[in-house]
Symmetry: C2
Subunit: 218 residues, 2 copies
Amino acid sequence: MTALESDTVLSLSTIRRLPRYLRVLQDFAASGKEYASSEAIASHLHLTPIVVRKDLFFSGIIGKPRRGYHIPCLIAHIEQIIHLHEPSSAFLVGAGNLGSALLGYSGITKSGLTIYAAFDNDSGKIGRMICGKQIYAMEKITAMGRRLSVQIGILCVPYDAAPSCADLLVQAGVRGVWNFSNRELRLPAHVAVHNEDLSAGLAILSIALNHQPKKATE
Amino acid sequence: MTALESDTVLSLSTIRRLPRYLRVLQDFAASGKEYASSEAIASHLHLTPIVVRKDLFFSGIIGKPRRGYHIPCLIAHIEQIIHLHEPSSAFLVGAGNLGSALLGYSGITKSGLTIYAAFDNDSGKIGRMICGKQIYAMEKITAMGRRLSVQIGILCVPYDAAPSCADLLVQAGVRGVWNFSNRELRLPAHVAVHNEDLSAGLAILSIALNHQPKKATE
DNA sequence: TAGATTGTTAATCGATTAACAATC
DNA sequence: TAGATTGTTAATCGATTAACAATC
């Protein structure tokens, strides 16, 4: 009893590339193309054709020799893998600068995620709307989460508030936390956590900038 | 003529972890500790002690058997590696939701990056201040960049505007681009690019959520 | 057919983990 | 000394790259 497609475990690196494939393919589709070769996809994403073919192969997508991959099928298939066809729901906690930006970020909607509501401790924000989303008091989160069966929590609170807010999200019933707080979270095993660490990106850039100018002498 | 410390090439994975070490170490310091073992650091970051020792070793940091690493030295050393002691300067392009949030994001300042100014095409924004940063018209970017010798460009414009804005940043003299646009950039080799792809994080979370409940039958 | 492009196995590379000797 | 913790080499694991046969 092997191998329904979803038994194949996609590697993290492959998953990370799927949304990028999607964007390129949508560009191709918009320009009227019907088929795309692994070479064409790869060159637009600074990848090798081999990695593209492997990613698509693991995703269970079949191409045609000499023509490449049928773009509409490919798009549909990738969207299905990252579950864009069955949109998920989220609560956002912490409507500060970053949180407010995410409330209005179209990329989230495009990724099939609907933010139902946001929560904050700041009485100046509670009751207001930000980017069309209502801001509620933190106390309401558990009851509302259970009532609406919300799936994902977007954590945009400061470092010190992160652990307690994450716990509240878990009590509210989320099964995944998208963590922008830079704080390491200890959550029950059934809750998936993805840490978004902006300072990592800055560190990479900073080192690239400062170590790069060293010209090889040999 | 080998091995000044900076000849050692740190791996991307190691660099990504350095800011996380920094945060834990600052917590330790705040709670009055003087030394930290690789085990203590690792347990706070869900890492193994071995990976911590290796990262610190590659960073040229020496610990003491039986005591661990001297926290103040360690902090100073890591800050030096990611160049927090010589802050760099940035221009931000695209003062939309995400861009505006980054203008007010304290994490950037903490990482030693000063945003000098922001640029936008929207005449409604030009001349205004957002989070204490002046918004200028895009046309001004080249002259201002060269005058101020700005090092990093933070690209927060929509997908379609990304290539031309990135080119303008290069003309303004930046040597690194922190790219939030989701668009693949083709820039000269001397310009470092770091892509921040939020949809990758969402894809990982979405797949974790939807493929995880599958209970093993064997 | 010839040629281009896929599917798939094998080789390489890099990062993590294991093991253990060195040291305070 | 005994014991804990580092520094460092070796083994494992996973992801990328190379190679090439299969196919349209």
